[in-house]
Symmetry: C2
Subunit: 437 residues, 2 copies
């Protein structure tokens, strides 16, 4: 099975654990805080089909997090910028054809990376692929059996209630009464899961974007319009089948739904008294949280902030957290991670963790000096061409304008003090080597 996992954008609906640079699918919410959504889905696919060829369609900003969580071997189709699902899927399909050399006859299954589903879902994906390979339909959708008349989802109206049926029409998010009527007619939720032959999509790409070659898609990507796959393809296609899925399916887009699937009530440091009922704590800070006498509440803390919300109302946090202007306090990088320890007027103190063998790229700053204090491990620094081995207690001072980098010989941690009147992420000039910091 060829499967394209759409790893979508960032957002603040799971603030303070999701933000502009960290998407919800990377939050370690399962297995007592050891497994993220993307890790869970990846394992489930591999367990349903050990030979599945998985490609993750995502943006550049997620590449480090994906490599850190799934390993460096995973195939990634990197969108140069965000252009909604049609260009993203087309790019991944072209990548499969032109880079991975997949035949045009083969079926591609596309699904989002973040639904919470049981293993039956992946068995259904296999059926979906099989049907798409043999059916006349150009697209085969998975339709999810509704469990309640939701106003949040689009509905697929099938010709009949059989396991596989032709699709009659699509309906946008209805009100509750309309949703009930749809459901009585056998309607299904549209979970954004579809299968098609590679050939079909490359044709659509040519029709809509004028190209279907991977390299030309990549180069022209920024010029494409933002357009969803549903709008560009699904809603215009006459010949679509739908396959019913009636297992567990949850959209973990809010704290309310996310906490429903947590196996333990507390992740990280948290204490509750016996009068807490239906309370969940997700704590990514080192600070202990004590909860007393709360009911139906989610508490979530990260270096970005602290949320305490009635579960029901946690769906409405966006306008409140959108107003919070804050610098990024924690970020995963290809070489490790960093965490802001202190932000003051003319200084910023961060803790940098580098993985053994990794290096940040060679760079300089125009407007700030930096001091590194190695607090664990061994490494090699390069400052204006001068190499030096460093270990615990060594101090490296880097004046503004100096080119510098550090390579971790073992796992390495350092405290970096940035000093300057204007400290910004943008003040960075890369020199002579590729990579990112």
């Amino acid at each position: 099975m060829n499967i394209v996992l759409l790893s979508g954008g960032s957002g603040k609906r799971l603030w303070p654990l999701s933000n502009e640079v960290r998407s919800k699918q990377f939050i370690k919410i399962f297995n007592g805080g050891k497994q993220s959504m993307v890790e869970r889905v990846y394992c489930q696919i591999k367990s349903a089909d050990p030979n599945a060829r998985i490609t993750i369609a995502t943006s550049k900003s997620q590449v480090s997090a994906i490599h850190n969580q799934l390993g460096s071997g995973v195939a990634i189709s990197i969108e140069p910028c965000r252009r909604d699902t049609f260009p993203a899927i087309v790019l991944a399909a072209a990548y499969l054809h032109d880079v991975e050399k997949i035949s045009k006859d083969e079926v591609i299954v596309v699904c989002p990376v973040d639904p919470y589903v049981d293993d039956g879902y992946f068995e259904t994906l296999k059926k979906l692929a099989l049907h798409a390979a043999n059916a006349k339909a150009n697209i085969t959708l998975m339709g999810i059996e509704p469990t309640y008349p939701s106003e949040k989802y689009g509905y697929i109206i099938p010709e009949n209630k059989a396991d596989i049926s032709k699709v009659t029409e699509f309906k946008e998010k209805p009100d509750k009464v309309t949703a009930e009527r749809y459901i009585s007619r056998g309607a299904l939720w549209n979970g954004g899961v579809f299968a098609f032959k590679l050939d079909y999509l490359l044709q659509k790409s040519s029709e809509i974007l004028g190209v279907c070659d991977y390299w030309r898609l990549l180069n022209g990507y920024a010029d494409f319009k933002k357009i969803s796959f549903d709008y560009a393809v699904v809603e215009r296609e006459k010949c679509i089948d739908v396959l019913r899925y009636n297992g567990e399916w949850k959209d973990l887009g809010t704290w309310n739904t996310l906490t429903e699937v947590m196996e333990q009530p507390v992740i990280g440091k948290g204490i509750m008294n016996e009068n807490c009922k239906n309370v969940h704590i997700v704590n990514e800070t080192g600070m202990p949280i004590v909860a007393m006498g709360l009911k139906d509440v989610v508490i979530s803390a990260s270096p970005d902030g602290i949320l305490i919300s009635d579960k029901e109302q946690s769906s409405y946090i966006k306008p409140y957290v959108d107003g919070i202007e804050q610098q990024i306090m924690f970020a995963e990088k290809s070489w490790g991670s960093y965490r802001v320890l202190d932000a003051d007027k003319n200084s910023l103190t961060i803790k940098v963790t580098l993985k053994e063998g990794c290096a940040m790229n060679y760079h300089s700053h125009r407007l700030r000096d930096e001091v590194w204090v190695v607090i664990s491990g061994k490494g090699r620094t390069t400052v204006d061409g001068m190499e030096q081995e460093v270990s615990v207690g060594d101090v490296i001072t880097v004046q503004r304008g100096c080119k510098h980098k550090i390579t971790a010989i073992t796992n390495l941690q350092l405290v970096e003090v940035q000093l300057g009147e204007e400290i910004t992420v943008g003040d960075k000039i890369k020199h002579g080597e590729s990579g990112e910091q």
Copy 2:
């Protein structure tokens, strides 16, 4: 008026804002986070009686906080160790007699530093002093008119319901029904406020402790038994008067009572949605707090931790927070303050703030090296006798065994990275100068 303010011990009932080193009376809870309990009471006394001679009886650990909040001019009677209220009051009385040269005829009024009261309270204190000066009674108590049949306070049973009456007896914390019966007889709460002539107490000191001289009390202090003033004196004295006080009086010992007197619902960074009812946020961290749809809840955050509690239940946090073992994350010092930024296995990173003109004492460590990075201001370091002027960006490395100190020429901040296998507060040797770090 001579007034002795008892600035009591630390405790975790207002965790995470109070802890072993920081008492509740120093939490800046009034005036939008600008004024603490001790500052408020001090101002109130000075406004009721500009000539009041205020002496604060407290332990060594509170001296820096008192000086930082009330200025360096305030008189403090420092207990060498905690020995409950009788030795503390005796020591303060002897200090007034032997150091401040107060006559034995003068009246001393003793009251705790932490009740929340209106200005009428201090007018009553003046009446109390006046009565004690002229009455036959050896002790005059303030009795607080109960507002409900509390089970938390001791009761004073007066002979009659007159403004000033003889005391018939004292009753320990009763159950509710008994409390109601006491109140119907005109009983009053014992708020620990009493007035007596200095002479009387020095006599009691001689009787009970065998000495009444300040320097001998100070030297022998550690050998005294822990004994409360109520037990040692009040309950044994036959000749006591009580003066009724019927104004506002609140014991701000729990989050529940503390939040009742906050003028604003939010101190520090905090956002609430419109569905929050009777919610208070006290946030001493730089992290934003967002509260959604909560009712009757107090949220309090400091570098030590985060409390989210139903207000009613916030009285019961002690056993939950007693179990939290944590290093002190923030402390006020005579020279400024420090805050822990990061605690790792073999390193500790702290931010040190020194006030202009102040210096930490000259000291060394046996088991750790330190690196200082100056992030603001100017200062002068001394390392093994070598003096050096330092300013922003300067780095000082101090090996284990090196004697070192820094003096702030202007307000100064530095990041200190401590490195060693065993980093403890106890690893500190002072050299040649007095003071504290």
